[in-house]
């Protein structure tokens, strides 16, 4: 198999929580590894607060990672080469409202990456490039001089995508790019992501908490729980035959369009709350809410193991 485009190994991101003089470490991401091939999409799902955004941000070194290694196209990303790497790896943010500077015009927002990396010879070329990017994401040219606050959520997200595309990156982290949007607009934006991938060949890490959204766009899906990946598999396989108890409960919560099937399906309702990442349970992090939990689960942490056919699960239960 060819070398993957993006390789993440044992990524860790701990945040210090100062409580007086004592420092507690919040393990937002605790040893995450995955690979993404060129022009492919890996979906990343998990409930709110499980560390999805943090994975994306520490991959791009928006936070200084506590540990682990991120490799892009064979080069390890370090502090010294991150500036060049920003041309290869970009991000689309979760909140279309706070991710665009309210004091800048659309042209300046999309033009900023071009400015930073000196990607044009003169003003005219910059303008042309910005208009071209706007056209790619379906924005009208006469919107260039307007301010971000004049646009709807969907349009703002398109501006954010155009900004990410400006440097012509090989890989984009899409951090829940549609979860703040209306359902009707979600589909449009997701389709646009797919079209852009077909046209430009970019790879995505597509973060969402909705499995259906991710299944549609991803080749593979990783399920995250409390800062760890608990299951990775081919998108369809994971959705049809989830193996980890947590993935099963996630899937059982997905609404099904057909009422007949929906009635027959057993719904697994998780009991209890997500434990605080400050006080991780010993052994398997999912132990406190798992129906199949045994004594072994409390003692030892299960690692991701191959169950055949590139389907990885971190659970003691076979």
């Amino acid at each position: 198999m060819a070398e993957p485009l993006v390789k993440v190994e044992d990524l860790k991101q701990y945040f210090p929580i100062r409580n007086g003089l004592k420092v507690n470490w919040l393990k937002a991401v605790d040893g995450v590894s995955f690979e993404i091939n060129a022009s492919e999409t890996l979906g990343l799902v998990g409930e709110s607060g499980c560390g999805k955004t943090t994975v994306g941000r520490s991959m791009l070194r928006l936070y200084e990672p506590t540990g682990g290694k991120v490799t892009f196209d064979g080069t390890e990303i370090t502090k010294s080469n991150i500036q060049q790497m920003r041309k290869e790896m970009q991000m689309v943010f979760q909140d279309p409202y706070s991710s665009l500077d309210p004091r800048m015009t659309v042209e300046d927002i999309i033009g900023e990456p071009l400015d930073v990396h000196h990607l044009y010879a003169n003003k005219a070329e910059r303008h042309e490039k910005v208009l071209d990017l706007m056209d790619q994401v379906g924005l009208k040219a006469d919107h260039a001089a307007r301010y971000a606050h004049e646009f709807s959520g969907g349009q703002r997200q398109r501006i954010g995508i155009a900004r990410a595309l400006a440097v012509n990156p090989g890989f984009i982290v899409c951090d829940e790019p549609v979860s703040a949007l209306d359902v009707s607009i979600q589909a449009q934006v997701i389709n646009m992501f797919e079209e852009l991938q077909n046209k430009l060949g970019v790879a995505y890490l597509f973060i969402a908490h909705d499995l259906l959204v991710v299944r549609h766009i991803s080749k593979r899906i990783a399920v995250m729980y409390l800062g760890r990946i608990v299951e990775v598999a081919d998108a369809d396989e994971l959705c049809d035959e989830p193996q980890h108890p947590y993935s099963q409960s996630l899937l059982s919560a997905v609404p099904i369009p057909d009422p007949k099937i929906a009635r027959e399906r057993k719904r697994i309702v998780l009991e209890g709350d997500v434990p605080s990442p400050l006080h991780m349970p010993s052994g398997c992090p999912f132990r406190t809410r798992c129906r199949y939990a045994t004594e072994k689960c409390a003692l030892e942490r299960p690692e991701l193991t191959d169950r055949g056919g590139d389907h990885f699960v971190a659970c003691w239960n076979k």
Partner: protein
């Protein structure tokens, strides 16, 4: 949903709240296009100025301030006396022109006018050293305004740089920088100002003829005192604002695009705390003017014969019972300037940042 047939909808029941779709008309293409056109693009500034101009108090204050500024620029060109000139008639010192009431002439001057001479009226009378009081008040206002503006600019520059570094860096750097601010903040202002002014006035010496010498050591030491003491409030305000702006994803977005910290501060953070900067600078000016007047009043301000509103008021104390108007004019001027600047500051705050309440 596109080809939805209205007629296939279930019939509306009597008393049902269901919308009767058959009563709706389809939007024409023109109407659809109208939906697409957005309102006129307004920038943050245009919007704020519009609101400011709708505030009658702020507009009135601006007019008053403009009037005062015009007077202090134009008056020295028209009035034939200078602020340090002792009045003379026909080249001889006019000893009778002492403590004249407004719009009156001394005996010598009356004789001069009776002989067909022209004499410019003493609009505010004269002082005890036979100098025209109006022109002295005009110069005093000049000095006060200049001190106010420059001191505020110094405060703004120091406070902005310090506050933005502290706010942007965060963590330990922020902690240390803010403790320094707390330390300075906890000093009793007036005591330090008086001590510093005394020290600077004695230590500083300038080559005669230089720009600084023209200003006088007292004036320069006053700027330094303001610069050293009053930037802390500005630094705190700007830091607090930056901390909240830093939470926004567009700062992370700029970082992910590869922008340097300096360019992030310049292009994203400062423009977004512009409203706070404008407002607090506008409110800083009157407070600087007030402090200057106070210092001049206790004799630590600008050097004689250069007048300032504070030193004029101080000089007027002596003959307060006989010549009360001599206190009234500079005091009124201080009130007018400070009040209108404060009202403009308030207006700016309401127009640009309704959330900021003190």
């Amino acid at each position: 949903m596109e080809n939805y047939d209205v007629n296939k909808m279930p019939k509306k029941q009597f008393l049902s709240a269901q919308i009767d779709l058959s009563k709706f008309e389809k939007a024409t293409d023109e109407e659809k296009q109208q939906q697409d056109i957005m309102g006129e693009s307004t920038t943050f500034f245009k919007d704020g100025m519009k609101k400011l101009l709708k505030n009658p108090l702020a507009v009135a204050s601006m007019i008053v301030l403009l009037f005062v500024i015009t007077v202090i620029i134009v008056a020295p060109m028209i009035v034939p006396y200078s602020y340090e000139e002792i009045l003379t008639v026909n080249g001889k010192r006019d000893k009778g022109a002492k403590n004249l009431k407004p719009f009156t002439y001394s005996k010598e001057e009356q004789k001069f006018i009776a002989n067909g001479g022209e004499r410019f009226p003493h609009i505010m009378g004269t002082d005890e050293q036979c100098r025209d009081y109006f022109i002295r008040v005009v110069y005093g206002t000049r000095v006060s305004l200049i001190v106010g503006f420059f001191a505020s600019i110094i405060v703004l520059i120091i406070g902005m740089i310090y506050g933005s570094i502290s706010g942007y860096a965060g963590g330990r750097v922020d902690l240390f920088m803010m403790r320094v601010v707390d330390l300075i903040y906890s000093l009793p202002d007036m005591l330090v100002i008086i001590l510093l002014s005394v020290v600077f006035t004695n230590v500083l010496s300038f080559k005669s003829g230089s720009f600084l010498a023209a200003l006088g050591t007292n004036m320069v030491s006053m700027f330094m005192v303001f610069g050293l003491l009053y930037w802390v409030t500005m630094a705190r305000l700007i830091r607090a604002e930056i901390l909240s702006i830093k939470e926004n994803d567009y700062i992370l977005a700029a970082k992910s695009v590869g922008a340097s910290p300096v360019s992030i501060i310049k292009k994203h953070i400062l423009p977004n705390c512009l409203s706070v900067i404008i407002i607090s600078t506008a409110l800083q000016i009157p407070s600087a003017i007030f402090t200057e007047s106070y210092l001049s009043f206790v004799g630590l301000g600008v050097q004689a014969p250069m007048p300032s509103l504070g030193s004029l008021a101080n000089a007027a104390r002596e003959g307060l019972q006989s010549y009360p108007y001599k206190l009234v004019f500079p005091a009124l001027m201080i009130c007018l300037i400070v009040l209108s600047l404060n009202l403009i500051g308030d207006g700016l705050r309401d127009a640009f940042d309704p959330k900021l309440k003190r």
